[in-house]
Symmetry: C2
Subunit: 243 residues, 2 copies
DNA sequence: CAGTGGTCTAGACCACATC
DNA sequence: ATGTGGTCTAGACCACTGG
């Protein structure tokens, strides 16, 4: 049915690329259903099986969620109840899946330093927004996060708006600014707590902490968040499953 | 063609289970080709497409490697040139993919303590083997590993045999003892270097170190290795990609 | 009931490796 | 030339959801 492939990629990967482009362009909003496999097959002039393989690949990338009997939906950070742990790797040592409570300390505007510029692909001096917050696990301060965002993508972000929002940070970014976090890279080191950090986390200065540097990417592998988390590990740890 | 499904799982998952059982039983040796899709389809009385889906799932689990034009092969730790980084997450800060050199310090036999017994699913006091080694990156000692193994699964393991072997630890375990490492869980904490560790890693006592506790599983999710790695993070970090 | 995704089949053809 | 995995198709039927 289809015209012969112009490029040298399998047809289903070309279809996947087209669907990705539509997703990135916001043709279907988060949590919305995309057209049925039959309809897409007709639109692209390929068989349903080929569309199916394309959508399977999108689902494997967490871009889309299949629900039998209902349809295929654009993935969202808002309604990820169980899979919220995809971007939340800190666990209690006893493995209880307790959700932390976030306490926002402050929101500041400033200019990108050398490191922020490099990691966020900005020029030094471009405007950034820096959020600081503490994650409490069972009331115990455990993680101090410093979140650096390119101001251009988050116009109008204020402490009041964050405080007013109920839900995860990534749900906030997605619903309020249309910035969807797709994947991330984390680099982990150990360092000694400085005085200020020690005070916030209620530990002795010099206590070894986990330092988790995360760069988060959106469509087109564009970095849109740099986050440094400092974590006490007396009662918690960072969990990683190696498939 | 096939008799109707006796259990209530999709046919391709049942086929996958059968293939897994054959793999676990060693019906095909590591690096060996498994039968072709056509032959397996005939053997199980299903279509080739169904066998394909089963094998796709096995490949996604890293149990098997597909090679177009050649066949499908039992995965092995021996010939993983690029993907050796699947179980090696420590990188240089400048991102150069330098392979470390392993220096084996000693091999001791002992009895499982409470922690080893719990993690390896043994009774306290059952015999274990403990290897200690240092990983040098560019000649700089960076990681001190303490590897605890259930002695029952590694009969005849001696320092001389490890020293004589050329290749990765997991390749050694696989080829010499038939123990294949399939997946692992890592729990990461920060702690201060004690005097002995500091000496080995050439840092000051009290220096913050990354502590990586890994429990590695073989067929049937049976734990067969507990490894604690202590890592300096002045020039290296632990890398994790979040899909 | 109709519509969706999920499974299974059978067959055709393509791409790659080997002899 | 042959055999392998990889893609694509068309159609049948199953399982689930919701009116």
């Amino acid at each position: 049915m289809s015209s012969t492939a112009p490029s040298f990629r399998p047809l289903y990967l070309q279809i996947k690329g087209l669907l990705e482009a539509s997703l990135a362009a916001g043709e279907w909003r988060p949590a919305e259903a995309i057209p049925s496999e039959q309809e897409l097959a007709g639109r692209f002039g390929v068989s349903q099986g080929t569309v199916r393989k394309a959508i399977d690949a999108l689902a494997a990338d967490n871009l889309v969620v299949r629900r039998q009997g209902k349809g295929t939906f654009v993935a969202t950070h808002t309604e990820e109840k169980a899979s919220m742990f995809r971007f939340l790797r800190i666990r209690r040592n006893d493995e209880l899946d307790v959700h932390p409570v976030s306490r926002l300390l402050d929101v500041r505007r400033g200019k990108a330093g050398a490191e922020a510029a490099r990691l966020l692909d900005l020029k030094p001096g471009e405007p950034v927004i820096v959020l600081r917050r503490v994650l409490d696990y069972d009331g115990v301060p455990t993680v101090l996060d410093e979140i650096t965002l390119p101001a251009a993508a988050f116009k109008g972000l204020t402490k009041a708006r964050v405080d007013a929002y109920h839900g995860s940070m990534y749900s906030f970014f997605e619903t309020q600014f249309g910035v969807r976090m797709l994947k991330a890279q984390e680099r982990i080191r150990a360092l000694a707590a400085d005085a200020a950090t020690a005070a916030v986390l209620a530990v002795e200065p010099g206590t070894p902490l986990l330092s988790v540097d995360r760069v988060t990417l959106t469509w087109g592998d564009r970095p849109v968040e740099w986050r440094r988390g400092l974590c006490t590990t007396a009662h918690h740890h960072y969990l990683n499953e190696l498939g």
